[in-house]
């Protein structure tokens, strides 16, 4: 990773963090509603993975704002979607959990835990058939690794040696339930071992994530078939904005927040890439401006009109 990329990643992580806080603030104000799942604490993972997996298709879950932005979706179009406005990436119909941008090969935004994994498998099948070099990356939580959709996908992807990168964000929680109640071990990569190569990485370290995803991508390109990457991470907030996070002790949260990926990466930038405080300040400011603009854009954007309700049920009405 060179300095330029490191700076870009720091920018995206900072942008992501600020975006999430702005989203939360606007949820409190009543501008954003529904389920709002924040990625705060997991930015190294979201940004590192998306930047490493430059080409190819990405399928994500409902906790996807930061990934979407890292993928190149405009922060203002994402914020407008959270506001339910017509200039939102999904025209206000999808909301936080349903951000789609096929032009950027981003199909983030599935709200059925594990439901997008078979879709990613199908897309990888298509890419294979089309002879495309770029694979598919599917991102999901540790909670998704207990469901049938995930398991069927391991089997099918391995059978057809599909160019598919499974990325598990293991934050050890599915809403309020710790993984120890729902799986026999903490490392979900074990489940993939019979089927494919697995890698694991500290998801709080942006560079490590970046390198690991690059390695996985290389394995896929070299024809190894699917690869499973597990990244251990930690979410700083409740499951969604409406969750009080009461099931995690102050102790546990302190331990978790001590690994803040932004703090860590900033230190790396200062120490390893010799960035100056000033350079980083500039980046942080730029991120803040971007977020401020996004909120203003979302505020000023129109509501969808009444006819929108009946649009896009089908491509052609009968």
């Amino acid at each position: 990773m060179n300095k330029l990329l490191a700076e870009e990643m720091y920018y995206l992580m900072t942008l992501g963090r600020k975006f999430e806080y702005a989203a939360k603030e606007n949820y409190m104000k009543g501008n954003v509603s529904g389920f709002l799942h924040l990625d705060i604490g997991q930015e190294a993972l979201s940004v590192g993975a998306i930047k490493a997996f430059e080409k190819g298709d990405v399928f994500a879950t409902y906790r996807e704002h930061v990934m979407a932005i890292a993928r190149g979706l405009e922060p203002k179009a994402v914020m407008a979607e959270l506001f339910g406005k017509v200039n939102g990436v999904s025209g206000g119909k999808g909301g936080s959990m349903h951000l789609f941008e096929p032009s950027r090969f981003f199909y983030g935004g599935d709200a059925i835990v594990g439901g997008h994994i078979p879709n990613a498998v199908g897309c990888a099948y298509a890419r294979n058939l089309q002879g495309s070099e770029d694979g598919v990356m599917v991102i999901f939580g540790d909670g998704a690794t207990n469901g049938g959709a995930f398991f069927e996908s391991l089997n099918i992807a391995a059978t057809h040696k599909l160019p598919l990168l499974f990325l598990c964000e293991n934050n050890e929680y599915a809403i309020g339930t710790n993984i120890k109640y729902t799986a026999p071990f903490r490392e979900q990569a074990k489940k993939a071992e019979p089927y494919m190569m697995t890698l694991s990485v500290d998801g709080m370290k942006a560079e490590a994530v970046y390198e690991t995803i690059k390695e996985a991508q290389k394995l896929i390109e070299d024809g190894h078939g699917p690869v499973f990457v597990e990244a251990f991470t930690c979410r700083f907030e409740g499951h969604s904005v409406s969750d009080s996070n009461s099931y995690r002790s102050t102790q546990e949260m302190k331990h978790c927040k001590a690994k803040d990926p932004l703090v860590h990466f900033k230190k790396e930038l200062l120490e390893r890439w010799m960035c100056s405080d000033k350079e980083l300040e500039k980046i942080e400011k730029k991120a803040q401006t971007m977020v401020d603009e996004a909120v203003v854009f979302a505020e000023n954007s129109e509501e969808p009109n009444a006819a929108a309700l009946f649009e896009h049920v089908f491509t052609e009405e009968v």
Binding site: F35, H98, G143, G147, G148, T177, A306, A308, L309
Partner: protein, 325 residues
């Protein structure tokens, strides 16, 4: 008492007296349930009887079926109606059929319960209603509960029954307040007359009953008539007797439901009205339901896609004027 507290109390009481009763689902333990219906139970009955499951709805119901075969009385919670689709094979191919296929040798004393419906901007994958699908399955008894007193009694009944029940709740009812008459003997299959009236029978269930009640005075003054409002309570079996008595009196029947209108549950009710009450009717029956569109996130679109007290009043008044009510 809140609605969710009534359910909690019912479950708690049954677990207290019968230690074959267990409850399972995502976050039902320590977390107390996504809508707090199981709050406090794991502390009281332990992790073996209040079981935090993985996110695996097919197994939640499939395991409950097996637990029932093994002699327990499981109460399975599915966090939201939309996720129940993942368990449809177990609900329909197993839970509903094993008693019949085994000629009565296997009995399945079990309940699958979940909330459904449009809450607030949860979008298309978290807002749907599936009572029309599930109430058409032979072998399942389906209750869907508006009233708090009813909820308490019917839920208890369902847990203690030897038949498989689907118990459908609504996300927006959990914090509704009301009283429970603990001493009452309540028949969970009997429809509830929420309000008596002479000229129009309005049939509904679950949350829509409240919306109908909010629209009634506007309708009555606009049409100069009185409405009888019926809460079905049980969706399978349907208490046709109560409906028949009411419609004989009013000669008019309206069905209000939240689900997409096409193929909604109400079509069964109105088809029955047309077949069985035809000669009694003074006006065409009316069905009010949601639009045939997935649920949108945007609040205006979302509200435009389901009946609201205003739209119910408007639509019924327009129908009344057109049909000389």
């Amino acid at each position: 008492m809140l609605y969710r507290e009534a359910l909690n109390k019912a479950l708690d009481e049954v677990m207290e007296i019968d230690d074959t009763v267990v409850t399972l689902g995502e976050d039902v333990g320590l977390y107390g349930g996504a809508f707090r219906v199981t709050e406090g139970l794991v502390e009281k009955y332990g992790e073996k009887r209040v079981i935090d499951t993985p996110i695996a709805e097919l197994s939640i119901v499939g395991n409950a079926v097996g637990m029932a075969i093994g002699g327990l009385r499981p109460v399975a919670e599915i966090m939201t109606g939309n996720f129940s689709l993942l368990a449809f094979d177990q609900i329909i191919n197993h839970m509903a059929k094993l008693h019949y296929m085994s000629n009565g040798k296997i009995t399945l004393p079990m309940v699958v319960r979940f909330p459904q419906g449009v809450s607030k901007q949860l979008a298309a994958q978290h807002s749907e209603s599936y009572e029309q699908m599930l109430s058409s399955v032979p072998g399942l008894k389906v209750l869907s509960v508006n009233d708090i007193n009813y909820a308490y009694h019917a839920f208890k009944y369902a847990i203690l029954s030897n038949d498989p029940f689907v118990f459908i709740e609504h996300e927006l009812l959990y914090n509704k307040k009301g009283e429970v008459n603990f001493a009452q003997q309540l028949d969970p299959f009997k429809a509830r007359i929420v309000k008596e009236g002479e000229n129009i029978t309005i049939i509904s269930y679950l949350k829509m009953v409240d919306d109908v009640m909010q629209s009634v005075s506007a309708i009555e003054s606009a049409l100069n008539c009185s409405c009888e409002v019926i809460d079905l309570c049980s969706l399978n079996p349907i208490d046709y007797d109560t409906l028949a008595i009411s419609i004989k009196k009013t000669s008019r029947a309206i069905m209000v439901e939240e689900d997409h209108k096409t193929g909604g549950f109400g079509s069964q009710v109105i088809a029955w009205v047309a077949e069985e009450m035809f000669y009694t009717l003074d006006a065409p029956p009316l069905r009010l339901g949601g639009t045939d569109t997935p649920i949108a996130y945007n609040r205006t679109l979302e509200l435009a896609s389901i009946p609201t007290p205003d739209s119910i009043a408007q639509d019924i008044i327009a129908w009344g004027k057109k049909n000389d009510v």
